[in-house]
């Protein structure tokens, strides 16, 4: 090989690094602490700015997530909540946010988590079940840092860890409500579910969905398929197509891949029931209901606990009852269907309806 290959390679790698720095793809060794807003030198006096609606001290928050902040699903739901807190608290002087996205590779994510903690971030969020075991190794090395982890229920107290918050969305609750709605809407008696990977948040949602549909109409057929990936948009689209060919006249699904399926639903004019983030801007006439995750109160409570000296130990849940889960219904839905869905919501909140998950 010739020496001539040295500089072109250097050039290419440099170009790739520049591009990667701007968008942090999963294959890149994690660039430490990529801060969205140029972090202003934080001074003590710059504390609670006037007009700060939230009573919090300045804080630096970092989050590592498996997909992108614009995925219309899992990652966007929590990132939007962080941005809202930042705005309410008085901007980036009070709440500094750094993020690493598309960290599907757990090793990269673990390195990013450690970098953020070492860089002095107060609250470091590992936004994926798969990051748990890495987090449990990192957390003891940074006893003054708060960590948060979800989908999870284990704060590590059993292993002597005191600086981890756990959080999960009880996705089966809104899943159940969407299932009730789907069964009320379906005329063909067949419903299609475009699942990603049979685990975690997606499985909770889908199990709840099937339970809700069957409770409304025991004879209904709910066809469930998984693409085996969170991001295989093309296969998700083809899965939606297949469901429609198999007679489904209402569809739902989970994870960022569903934008492909929603595209097909739009083309074939089949109603779609969403979860995680509000997907209706993509197809206002098609996305007729959504279970929305609202992490705002959960995150705010973590921040307040952290600033009161309580670094972890709480396991949070988003539920319909505590308002962490909210249902959005389109005006185009028939009244009876919405009434049935709202009845299911009330039943879950009051505890009359219990959802059996395997």
């Amino acid at each position: 090989m010739s020496k001539r290959l040295f500089w072109p390679l250097t050039l290419l790698v440099a170009l790739a690094l520049i591009a990667a720095q701007c968008a942090a793809p999963a294959t890149e060794a994690p660039p430490p602490a990529k801060t969205e807003e140029a972090a202003p030198a934080k001074t003590e006096e710059a504390a609670p700015a006037e007009g700060a609606a939230l009573d919090i001290e300045p804080i630096r928050i970092a989050i590592v997530m498996p997909s992108t902040t614009t995925d219309l699903a899992w990652s966007q739901a929590i990132f939007d909540a962080l941005l809202r807190i930042q705005e309410e608290a008085g901007g980036e002087d009070v709440v500094e946010i750094a993020y690493s996205e598309t960290m599907f590779n757990v090793t990269d994510a673990a390195a990013a988590l450690r970098d953020y903690a070492a860089d002095g971030y107060d609250l470091v969020i590992a936004h994926g079940t798969q990051y748990g075991s890495s987090l449990f190794e990192i957390a003891p090395d940074f006893p003054d840092t708060s960590f948060a982890w979800g989908t999870a229920t284990d704060t590590g107290e059993g292993e002597g860890l005191h600086n981890i918050f756990a959080y999960e969305a009880r996705a089966e609750q809104g899943g159940y409500v969407n299932g009730v709605l789907a069964a009320s809407l379906s005329k063909s008696g067949v419903i299609g579910v475009v699942g990603p990977v049979e685990a975690g948040d997606a499985k909770l949602y889908i199990d709840g969905f099937v339970a809700g549909a069957k409770a409304t109409n025991p004879d209904i057929t709910v066809n469930v398929s998984y693409t085996g990936s969170f991001g295989d948009t093309a296969l998700a689209a083809e899965a939606a197509n297949t469901h429609i060919n198999a007679g489904a006249d209402v569809l739902t699904g989970s994870a960022q891949q569903v934008v492909g399926a929603i595209g097909v639903a739009k083309e074939k004019n089949v109603p779609w029931l969403g979860t995680q983030s509000d997907q209706s801007p993509l197809a206002p006439d098609i996305v007729v209901a959504t279970q929305l995750y609202d992490w705002h109160d959960t995150l705010l409570d973590m921040i307040k606990k952290h600033q009161a000296g309580e670094l972890g130990g709480t396991a949070y849940q988003l539920t319909l009852k505590n308002g962490g889960l909210t249902m959005l219904y389109s005006d185009s839905l028939p009244e009876e269907a919405v009434a049935a869905a709202k009845e299911a919501e009330a039943g879950i909140i009051s505890g009359e309806i219990t959802i059996d998950i395997e």
């Binding site: 968008a23 085996g228 948009t233 093309a234 198999a246 934008v259």
Partner: protein, 321 residues
């Protein structure tokens, strides 16, 4: 279980889905095949597809003109192919590494552009499904050829880019095997010294094939973003570009082989979706694995090695032997 679904309807469904799924693979793999036949391994296909998908989508989104979008995707793809040609042919860089560099550039740049220009997932009206209706010929009839049982249902309900992908296969075969230019490509990939001594410009042939391969990869991306899915999302190709490279090996560097590989992979993928939808008692993880498993088994046949272009990944320098 959906008892009322006939076996025939399921077969039609699988075949129809298979043709759609195969479309991006065909564009990307046929393009990559040209590059490899001339001796250049371009591992950056995935990155080019992403940039093609983005450019095609963005231009269509802004102008509403699908042909302009397609043109943008092809142009951006060709430019990235040209960059790969410059690095691998003129500068003689190690091809595997520069390809990965190109991939990472495409992944990063398309995400960055998406964030700065779109910010959120949007939709466009993509190329419509053609139905071949008699009324479009001025005939006084509501009948569409897509209604022909089985054959019409499988083959005559697609958009133009799907047909383009399949039309590419015989064209590629003809170019490669029946034209002087195809002969030059094969000669350059097999024995560049001999080709050079006969007055064929090795560099020029490789430039053209790698640029063409980039253009087709760009169109492959557009076939996702403005004809099959009609959205753009970061990293939406999800590894399809790498599967396309594998399909070139699978297809023994021949258009018909690539077609066979793409169809096998896509049909098995469509089949496994049906297996899941029908609720057959197979774990979803196993079903999802099927297409990949099959590909690996086929690749394991040793005789394929012999068909590989002899000069693949080897930079050409005059006077070397």
């Amino acid at each position: 279980m959906s008892g009322e679904l006939s076996v025939l309807a399921i077969i039609v469904g699988i075949a129809h889905s298979g043709l759609r799924l195969a479309t991006p693979y065909l564009y990307a793999a046929i393009g990559e095949m040209f590059a490899q036949r001339s001796g250049v391994l371009n591992l950056g296909v995935e990155g080019i597809m992403l940039m093609g998908a983005y450019s095609g989508f963005f231009v269509t989104f802004k102008t509403g003109n699908l042909l302009l979008g397609l043109l943008a995707a092809a142009t951006v793809g060709a430019l990235m192919g040209l960059a790969m040609a410059f690095v691998s042919v003129t500068l003689q860089a190690q091809q595997g590494i520069s390809g990965i560099g190109l991939f990472m550039f495409g992944l990063g740049a398309s995400s960055l552009l998406f964030k700065t220009t779109l910010g959120t997932v949007e939709g466009v009206e993509g190329f419509p499904e053609l139905r071949f209706c008699l009324s479009s010929l001025g005939l006084n009839s509501n009948y569409c050829l897509s209604q022909i049982p089985i054959l019409g249902e499988i083959f005559l309900r697609h958009n133009i880019l799907v047909y383009g992908a399949f039309a590419l296969v015989p064209i590629a075969w003809w170019v490669l095997n029946k034209t002087t230019w195809g002969l030059s490509i094969r000669a350059v990939g097999q024995n560049p010294q001999a080709a050079d001594s006969l007055g064929v410009s090795v560099a020029r042939v490789r430039y053209v094939t790698v640029t063409l391969g980039g253009m087709l990869a760009g169109i492959a991306g557009a076939s996702l973003s403005i004809s099959l899915l009609n959205i753009f999302q970061e990293n939406m190709t999800n590894g399809q570009g790498f599967i396309a490279v594998a399909l070139v090996y699978f297809g023994s560097w021949a258009p018909l082989g690539v077609l066979a590989g793409a169809m096998l992979f896509s049909l098995v993928n469509a089949l496994q979706l049906w297996v899941q939808v029908l609720g057959l008692n197979i774990p979803s993880d196993v079903a999802v694995m099927l297409p990949y498993l099959l590909t690996i088994i086929t690749l394991a046949f040793p005789f394929r090695r012999a068909l590989q272009p002899a000069a693949l990944t080897k930079p050409f320098e005059r006077g070397e032997s």
